[in-house]
């Protein structure tokens, strides 16, 4: 408590008439004590407005001292008034500063929440973009596969068309050559009269047909052929089978001579089995004497 000469002087001047506290002074002092107690008890005031609380404490101490000394009620009431006002100011100031801190915290929280929300959005967008990219790649792959499929179909079609066209050429060139489509592949039937005079030696006139056939096989390296020899029903069956086998092998040999790999050609002899005509007429027997070349699907 600081020594205050001016107040002391006034108190001394007025001391005689003010021994007991007036009701107004008493009331003002009570208000000040209440306001101060409330502010001092508040932890937030201690924390956020200690300086304001201290000025209230000083004024209240002055008021209490003046009242005790029997000072003029005006001075008592004045200091009590200041104490009450300052205590309320301390309380409001503390609440205000606490509120400011809460506002800052709320703003920071909102910013964090916004950042988090943006991060989630960005992650979702990235995920969506990834899904879109995967879908795009899948669609592209499907399109490529379909394109390849189409190209393959077209190639197969043109290959089949090419095959048929080329074999038809053989058919057109040589009487006695017939073609037909079967489940085993395209079957080319060459009449023996075209290929052989007798025995298993190929006629010179067969060269052209064999050249064309070899050319066809060269241009379709994935296709294999079966060369199958047949005879009519005349004569012993064993001999007929051997002869038909030798004739099939003669055709295979001729094709190998023309550059076709041996493993692509399978030569067999069936003799009189699987006749295509009756053996009772010369025409039927002639049709049964034949070599069939089966061109397998690739």
């Amino acid at each position: 408590m600081t020594f205050h000469p001016r107040l002391t002087l006034i108190a001394a001047l007025l001391a005689s008439g003010c021994a007991t506290l007036s009701p107004e002074s008493q009331q003002q002092l009570t208000s000040a004590r209440t306001a101060y107690s409330q502010a001092a008890a508040d932890a937030q005031v201690q924390r956020y407005a200690p300086a304001e609380l201290n000025t209230a404490a000083q004024a209240l101490q002055d008021a209490e001292r003046l009242a005790k000394d029997g000072a003029d009620s005006t001075l008592v009431e004045h200091n009590a008034y200041l104490a009450e006002r300052r205590a309320r100011t301390a309380l409001s100031t503390a609440q205000m500063r606490q509120g400011e801190a809460a506002v800052l915290e709320a703003r920071a929280e909102r910013t964090r929440a916004q950042l988090a929300a943006r991060e989630i959005e960005a992650a979702a967008a990235r995920e969506e973009a990834q899904r879109a990219e995967i879908a795009r790649q899948q669609a592209e792959a499907r399109t490529r596969a379909l394109e390849q499929e189409k190209v393959k179909v077209v190639q197969d079609q043109s290959a089949a068309a090419g095959l048929t066209a080329e074999v038809k050429r053989l058919e057109a060139y040589y009487p006695g050559v017939q073609t037909r489509q079967t489940p085993r592949g395209l079957v080319l039937t060459l009449n023996n009269d075209l290929l052989f005079d007798s025995g298993a030696a190929l006629k010179g006139g067969a060269d052209r047909a064999l050249d064309d056939l070899a050319g066809f096989l060269r241009s379709h390296p994935n296709r294999k052929v079966a060369v199958e020899g047949f005879s009519d029903g005349a004569g012993p069956k064993d001999a007929a089978e051997r002869l038909s086998k030798r004739r099939a092998e003669a055709v295979k040999f001729a094709l190998v001579q023309r550059g076709i790999e041996p493993h692509r050609i399978d030569a067999r002899g069936y003799g009189p089995s699987f006749p295509v005509g009756t053996n009772d007429t010369e025409d039927g027997r002639q049709r049964n004497r034949r070599v069939e070349i089966i061109i397998n699907p690739s």
Binding site: I10, L13, T74, E77, R85, R86, T89, T93, V103, R110
Partner: protein, 100 residues
């Protein structure tokens, strides 16, 4: 009015003019004026009235009277400021919480 009564008794003319208290009261009023809200309006009006009376007391050389009035005007103005600022911050906080 107790203050006037005191002044009459206390021989005001013998004390120094309370220039410091007057300046502090004016400063506190000036600080509260731009931020005063409805919640602090009564305290501000009291501060304003007391400062005017203090200025008059100064002119009449009732310096002790002027000092007490100036001190109370300052305390009222500071309370007006704190009450108004507290109300403003509370509204800002409410708005901040509502906007989330």
């Amino acid at each position: 009015m107790p203050l006037l009564f005191l002044c009459a008794l206390a021989a005001c003319a013998t004390t120094e003019p309370p220039e410091k208290e007057m300046a502090q009261a004016r400063a506190a009023l000036a600080q509260a004026r731009p931020v005063v809200q409805q919640e602090g309006l009564n305290e501000y009006a009291q501060a304003h009235a007391k400062l005017e009376r203090a200025e008059r007391a100064m002119q009449q050389r009732h310096y002790e009277h002027a000092r007490l009035l100036a001190e109370e005007a300052e305390a009222d103005a500071r309370l007006a400021w704190a009450t108004s600022e507290n109300a403003r911050v509370k509204r800002a906080l409410d708005a901040e919480r509502a906007s989330r």
